[in-house]
């Protein structure tokens, strides 16, 4: 904890900003004895609306799905209970998907939280450090007896998310602004989010693909990751999956068994 400030004005001014039940702080006033209520409300409004706008900027597909009125009401609750702790607003809303999952009025959209998780990962990938992706040629140069021991260094933008619902299809349909197709929300889908150059891409992974990608991103060897993918999905195609991950820009280099 920081020491108590010797200047109490901020401690007096701040608490009512996000709490409409509190009255106007007594430290402030209008000019020449005028009241400060509606004046202080300008700050309340600026804070609340700008933070709701910040959530809307992070979660455009969620807002398109729910409509702005539903979204802003839900976001207002979240803003008041979980204001940002960082001045970087593109970092805001990490706990919003969990909030959506528990939100009473969103219970008939059980896939909504996973769509939000993809959107949060999309923005993290957007701001992640730049790095040149691993060239497919590097893998072809590895001798077969070294393949199982290969470890891949993930790209700073690469993320993998699993959903029991058709979260990737719902995300994609609601981000491009096109007319919405009919979607069977009950099909489980896993997402791979990458940004090989400057455009963030969200891929849908085949069965076993998320276990495989997760394993490799978290540092398992190719042999270990392939074994757990085969456990998860019999008939898992290792060659096609590793080629797909490399093509998508999931990795930047090989850490072990690399001939160069």
């Amino acid at each position: 904890m920081l020491p108590e400030p010797s200047l109490p004005f901020a401690a007096a001014f701040a608490p009512a900003l996000l709490d409409p039940a509190r009255s106007t702080p007594s430290v402030v006033t209008g000019p020449n004895g005028k009241a400060a209520g509606r004046r202080y409300d300008v700050y309340r409004n600026n804070v609340t609306v700008s933070l709701i706008d910040a959530l809307a900027a992070v979660y455009p597909a969620v807002q398109r799905i729910t409509g702005p009125e539903f979204f802003r009401a839900m976001a207002r609750f979240h803003v008041r209970s979980h204001p940002p702790t960082s001045p970087l607003l593109f970092e805001y809303g990490r706990d919003f998907p969990a909030f959506i999952e528990a939100y009473e009025h969103a219970q008939d959209m059980p896939w909504l939280a996973d769509v939000a998780r993809i959107e949060r990962a999309w923005l993290d990938a957007y701001h992640a450090a730049d790095a040149a992706p691993l060239s497919p040629a590097r893998l072809s140069a590895v001798t077969p007896d070294h393949l199982a021991d290969l470890v891949f260094v993930p790209h700073p933008a690469a993320r993998c998310l699993r959903s029991q619902y058709a979260a990737v299809t719902i995300f994609a349909a609601n981000r491009d602004g096109a007319p919405l197709p009919r979607i069977d929300a009950s099909t489980p889908e896993d997402a791979l989010i990458t940004r090989p150059a400057f455009d963030v891409t969200v891929h849908r992974l085949p069965p076993g693909g998320a276990v495989f990608a997760d394993g490799l991103i978290s540092g398992l060897s190719l042999g270990e990751a392939a074994a757990s993918a085969l456990d998860a999905a019999a008939g898992f195609d290792i060659a096609a999956n590793i080629a797909g991950l490399i093509e998508a820009g999931t990795f930047i280099s090989l850490a072990c068994g690399d001939p160069s």
Binding site: F9, F13, L18, V28, G30, N46
Partner: protein, 305 residues
Amino acid sequence: MSTVIQPTRPAAMPLRFAMPIGGVAGTSFKPEHLADILEAGPRRGFFEVHAENYMGDGGPPHRALEAIRRDHPLSLHGVCMSIGGPRPLDKAHLARFRSLVARYQPALVSEHLAWSTHETSFFNDLLPLPYTEATLACVCDHIDQVQEAIRRPLLLENPSTYVAFRDSAMRETEFIRAVTERTGCGLLLDVNNVFVSATNHGYSALDYLADFPLSRVQEIHLAGHAEQADDEGDLLLIDSHDGPVADAVWKLYEIVIQRRGAVPTLIEWDSKIPDWPVLQAEAAAAQAILDRDQAAVFAGERHAA
């Protein structure tokens, strides 16, 4: 501070316009205008960005800013340093700010006389402070830290406010004058903020400007405002940055330029962002006022302050 913090990445391209940029008009840079700006090619003017939008590690924001910076002077405008707050500055945020200054070598670097963080909450607004000897000492200490970190003078912007503090003991102009004298910082005079605050607090904008240390002003902001009402039903102006500059603010701006001489002037437009030609036309109007003043100075009709 003795620790040397290296920028996260060295400048990736040769940088021009790291020096003072003189009497030119610029605009806020908004990513939606990037294609139009690049297509038009290098032009007279400068661009200002909010520093916090470029504090991510990489990706499209830095690519856009590099493209803009290659051909134009840049103004880096910090929004979240919380210089006016009682809490110690966020060291991580200060290091990020310093890295951006080192990487993009902006012609102008500014922050606000305001605060936005208290305890662990970031409020994303420019909140007001009382003007007392105690807050003055705190603000000066914070500005010293920022200037030490970025190794150059900071420009401090006058706020727009809606309330006053009962225990304020000095005028805003008096406070700002003391800050600039004690810290050596420069000033960013936001003429719209002067107009908004003067209206909201019932004083004369001209009196405020007469009392303002104009010789320390190195950048001017112009922006649009919106109208609401206070508790008594009187006009309350909101610093909304969502429309064209008001006629009354243009008038005040001309008076400031006549007294101060030409200084870099920014058209700030942060929401309901118009098409690029509309924003460009506002900057052209400011440039015409700047050019008229510079022509008058050259003709010997007037000396700049």
